[in-house]
């Protein structure tokens, strides 16, 4: 699958427009007019939301215009429109984001130390082609240095899961 720049532009413009619309609708609920003591709480977000919607529409229109020019150019010269993300790039990004999401979910359940150990060990093992044992050592080393820097030196507690208390760390 290849993502075209045109589609990405349209998608982003739709998303930013939706953010603007959400804010404006939320602001209407708060009141966007005037009262005795000045503007109501929704005044500022309401109008900023409207500006955001307008700017998003503008970006969408210019994306369409650029796309039309590009297709005309492509028909004239036989070149295809520049792709936004090639399949190969998409695969790489997808794998990276996937691992990151698993890391976040693991962190929520098992804590940052276990999460990051697993995440770094997995990447070193699968992508870095290290032996599982050295990959695991790297992950554990990283987690230990996190512990030393944050909890020992700066006394900032990080998120812990069910495993740390078993090791006597609170």
């Amino acid at each position: 699958m290849t993502v075209r720049r045109f589609h990405a532009e349209i998608g982003t413009a739709l998303a930013t427009g939706a953010v603007g619309a959400t804010a404006a609708i939320g602001a209407v609920g708060l009141g966007y007019g005037w009262e005795e003591r000045g503007p109501q709480p929704g005044y500022f977000p309401f109008y900023v939301g409207l500006i955001l919607i307008a700017a998003s529409i503008w970006n969408m229109v210019s994306a369409f215009a650029a796309h039309r020019q590009a297709t005309a150019h492509a028909e004239a010269t036989g070149e295809t429109e520049e792709p936004f993300l090639e399949r190969e790039h998409l695969d790489r990004i997808g794998r990276f984001i996937g691992a990151m999401i698993v890391f976040v979910i693991a962190t929520l359940f098992l804590g940052i130390y276990v999460g990051s150990t697993g995440y770094i060990a997995y990447s070193a093992w699968r992508q870095g082609k290290y032996r599982p044992i050295s990959a695991l050592a790297m992950g554990a080393g990283f987690a230990v240095s996190l512990y030393v820097i944050f909890e020992v030196i700066f006394k900032i507690p990080l998120l812990k899961g069910p495993i740390e208390p078993l090791l006597g760390i609170y």
Binding site: R5, A8, E9, T12, T16, V19, G20, T22, A23, G26, A27, L30, W34, R37, G38, P39, P41, G42, F44, P45, V48, I51, L52, A55, S56, W58, N59, S62, F84, E88, H89, R92, I93, F96, I97, A99, M100, I101, F103, V104, T107, L108, I112, S116, Y119, I120, S123, A124, R126, Q127, G128, F142, L146, F150, F154, K155, I156, P157, L158, L159
Partner: protein, 501 residues
């Protein structure tokens, strides 16, 4: 010379063993952050802010600003040795720095870059020293309408002077403003735009957003490129260093011009990135005959580096004196100031002279430390980039998430980092600028407050923004910045009748 006495007093504050140690630590951390992809100055500073809560504000700002200088130096190192800009503002350094290093003169290229950077930074600090007292006195005359006008000016400058499409800058700005309104509103006391999520009650922290946008976002761009560093040998030969320093005075005109460009772009919200590109462009068009630019010309390194650093240091002046940061990193630092309970602006000079002048004095010292340290440690930090990405990448990801978690110990922030990481990647792929979003998030509350107070003063009439010469002048400059650059571009295109591609 009141400023001079104050500066000397500032040196008294800055030069203590503890602060010197913080400067060295800050510069070293900055170098790491500048060298590694995905960790830049803005999110390096964001990651560090939660760790500074236990320090007193003066020590904290010295640590953070030293980290900023270190990151600027580190960014140039990778530009020259690896052709990978560690910071957006050192992109222009790759044009001539990498070719020069490739041709076997890496020491010369690095020395030129670091010395020019040091010169640029020192010029910037001298300008700050001279202007600080004046700027804060000037700002004392500001009321709510004037402040709103200044914020308007800052936003307008981003839209008018930025290199991105104006409407894309507008999207970034307004998104930032909306994000800043989420949560409990301090003026009216009402809860806004949380849509029932109790996690949003205290608002969205700009630190978390910066870590996502700059950290994860930049990392994703690096992943997409499929990292393969092709570095140049990075041994530093002291004799070459000295020889290159001797060569510097020959380029005094380039240095001076670039420093001036940097100062201008640093004080107005152009920022270091725009300054370095502009300076490179002007140096190229002003150059006499010689080797072509892009093949390793010394001026091609001196111009962007000097401008980058003078803009970087000058960006601190409007932040301190007016509370309007002109770069993303300065915006993050200003957010830090507010977290420590300080209000940037003219009153800061009156109430906390030790803080302000200690910071300014530390900028002299830590830049000197920076030049020396970076020359001494380049080979070590260049080695960092030889660590395979499969290991360093996930480590950076983990550090970003840990840093975001320490901001307010909230697991909800982890999801925000993930979300804004993808937003940051998409935005940079599609040429949406990110710095205005951060600036708007930091300034959003203050801009809204100023607007609200002005409206209360004027009973709801927008005429208050043109009520006296001062505020009208600022508004007119703002509107001019918004409109004139694009009109000029449009006009010249029309005159030359160049067909629009």
């Amino acid at each position: 010379m009141g400023n001079f006495d104050l500066l000397m007093q500032g040196f008294g504050v800055a030069i203590t063993p503890m602060h010197l140690l913080l400067m060295v630590a800050g510069v070293l951390m900055g170098l790491v952050v500048g060298v590694l992809p995905g960790l830049g100055a803005p999110n390096g500073v964001s990651l560090l802010i939660p760790l500074t809560f236990s320090l007193d504000p003066t020590s904290a700002i010295i640590l953070l600003s030293s980290m900023y200088w270190g990151a600027l130096f580190g960014g140039s190192t990778t530009s020259i040795l690896f052709n990978i800009p560690g910071e957006p503002s050192s992109v222009a350094t790759t044009f001539d720095g990498y070719p020069m290093a490739r041709s076997g003169e890496s020491t010369r290229a690095l020395t030129l870059a670091f010395m020019s950077a040091g010169i640029g930074a020192l010029t910037g600090v001298i300008v700050i020293t001279l202007l600080a007292g004046w700027a804060s006195n000037f700002a004392l005359r500001f009321g709510a309408p004037e402040y709103f006008a200044v914020y308007f000016l800052a936003f307008a400058a981003f839209i008018g002077m930025g290199s991105a499409a104006p409407m894309k800058t507008m999207v970034a700005l307004t998104t930032g403003l909306l994000l800043s309104t989420v949560g409990m509103d301090t003026i009216t006391g009402s809860v806004r735009l949380t849509f029932g999520y109790s996690e949003l009650l205290s608002g969205i922290s700009f630190l978390v957003v910066v870590i996502g946008l700059f950290g994860i976002g930049e990392l994703l761009s690096t992943v997409q490129e499929g990292l393969r560093f092709r570095g140049v040998a990075s041994k530093i030969d002291l004799r070459d260093v000295l020889k290159t320093i001797g060569e510097l005075p020959r380029y005094w005109a380039t240095s001076l011009r670039s420093a001036l460009i940097g100062i201008w772009m640093g004080i107005t919200p152009g920022g270091p990135t725009a300054a370095s590109f502009m300076s490179y462009g002007i140096a190229r068009s002003a150059s006499r005959k010689g080797k072509a630019f892009g093949t390793g010309r010394p001026e091609g390194i001196i111009a962007p580096e000097t401008a980058d650093h003078s803009a970087g240091s000058c960006a601190m002046l409007p932040m301190l004196a007016l509370g309007v940061p002109s770069s993303a990193t300065a915006a993050v630092m200003m957010g830090g100031l507010m977290i420590w309970g300080l209000t940037p602006g003219p009153m800061l000079f009156a109430t906390k002279p030790d803080f302000v002048w200690g910071l300014i004095a530390s900028m002299y010292v830590s830049n000197l430390i920076g030049v020396v340290l970076v020359l001494a440690t380049v080979p070590m930090f260049a080695a960092l980039l030889r660590i395979p990405f499969a290991i360093i990448g996930p480590m950076i990801v983990a550090i970003c998430f840990v840093g975001a978690y320490t901001v307010s110990n909230s697991t909800f922030d982890l999801w925000l980092v993930l979300l804004f990481g993808m937003v940051g990647y998409l935005f940079s792929k599609l040429d949406y600028p990110i710095a205005p979003l951060v600036l708007a998030m930091v300034l959003g509350h203050k801009a809204e407050n100023a607007f609200h107070q002005s409206m209360v003063l004027s009973d709801g009439s927008l005429a208050i923004f043109f009520a006296n010469p001062l505020v009208s002048a600022i508004m007119v400059v703002g509107i001019a910045l918004l409109v004139v650059p694009k009109l000029l571009a449009f006009g010249s295109r029309f005159r030359r009748r160049i067909p629009v591609e």
